[in-house]
Amino acid sequence: MENIDELIDRLARESGGVKPAPHPFKLGLKWMGWATVYLFLSLLFSGLRPDLMMKLHESWFMAEIMALVAVFVATSVSAAVLSFPDLHQMRRMAFSPLIAFALLMLVLIGAWHADSPPAPLPVHSFECTISITLFSLLPTVWTFYAMRKFASTHFCWGGSVAALSAFSVSALWLRLHEVNDSVLHVVEWHYLPMIAFGLAGWGLGKKILKW
């Protein structure tokens, strides 16, 4: 092996001008922009739920959508922060999804209490999970591809957050597309699979984001 001075000289010779990576907020905003375009295009093709305007006047539905948007924003920014080896010295931002998920949980508990008498369960069940998973594949690939360009030292955590970010876009799409008022169904088939997806992202991060 060469000695340190030789290595430094070689690295210095190989180095040229390099464009520094953008700030994580900018990066997160860029990823959110792409995901939003994807969401709009998908809604354009699949169509909005017919009763959406009416549902937007229901406080619990609106709160759920807002909480999902918060999850999407927090996970996108957190994934961008986790792409940097030192978390861009904004460690707290990496934990921001926890607050968003707590908010979503509170909203779901509130919606469940307010769901009296309970809305009838839809006839389908796991189809929702499959739809969300399939729909989130493209944003997952995109986010992992974008994160690989950086140097994450928290690749498992980063992978998990990136997967959750993609999943939240899909969950948002399904809530705006599917006619369904059952909170129990939404929790069971829309949000609980998020845990499995997050764990899958953890494993994917270990495989894909390691450098």
């Binding site: 092996m1 690295l11 001008g17 990576a21 450098w211």
Partner: protein, 210 residues
């Protein structure tokens, strides 16, 4: 913490016709000359393609990383090997540092990451090569003070090795030369000597085990 010092530009100075990028570069060079440990300014220059600043930066970095690694590893060669790996990682990830935040936390994040990686690989390797006690139970009762191998038998096996390998082992183990000295004597480079010696040990081990 190394922060950029504000630079006062005298309004009485004659206006110099330089573009903005060039004037920033001049200001940074002044700051660096004033304080060679201003890693953030050095990194900014390096990101703009200044190779000298980049070499200074890496040299300064290895100066403060060496004691950090020495505290955590037991052998000097381990420290040097890992330091090289860390410098290569810093080089690969240099685009993730923009020079607008503290340099040391960024470096330590990468150094700790590589150190953990190294220790994980090291310990898993040790576990991999560990032998179950039950596997060697039978041989434990044997006489451990006597061995079937003698100096002559090892020496004889060395003679049977291919010319260069035999010469290397003789020089290193019978005459006490270091790998570097053997390399000079045989007109090889040091790492080639080490590789040849390693291969010779393998052959020798399998011969003696028979």
């Amino acid at each position: 913490m190394n922060r950029l010092k504000p630079v006062m530009i005298n309004p009485a100075w004659p206006s110099i016709r330089v573009n903005r990028k060039k004037s920033y570069k001049i200001i940074f060079e002044c700051i660096v000359a004033d304080n060679p440990d201003n890693f953030e300014a050095l990194m900014k220059l390096a990101l703009n393609g200044d190779q000298r600043a980049y070499a200074d930066l890496l040299r300064g970095t290895s100066r403060f990383l060496r004691p950090f690694l020495a505290k955590r590893l037991s052998f000097t060669n381990e420290v040097e090997d890992l330091l090289q790996e860390i410098l290569i990682s810093l080089h690969k990830a240099r685009h993730t540092f923009d020079g607008n935040r503290s340099y040391r936390p960024w470096v330590y994040a990468i150094a700790k990451f590589r150190l953990q990686d190294y220790l994980r690989a090291h310990y898993s390797d040790q576990l991999h090569h560990a032998i179950e006690l039950s596997e060697v139970e039978e041989s434990l009762s044997g006489n451990v003070t006597e061995t079937g191998m003698s100096y002559e038998s090892i020496s004889g096996e060395i003679q049977k090795l291919p010319g260069k390998q035999a010469a290397i082992l003789q020089l290193m183990h019978q005459e006490g030369y270091t790998a570097k000295e053997v390399a000079e004597k045989l007109g090889m480079n040091e790492s080639a000597v080490k590789v040849a010696a390693h291969r010779a040990y393998k052959v020798l081990r399998s011969q003696l085990e028979k």
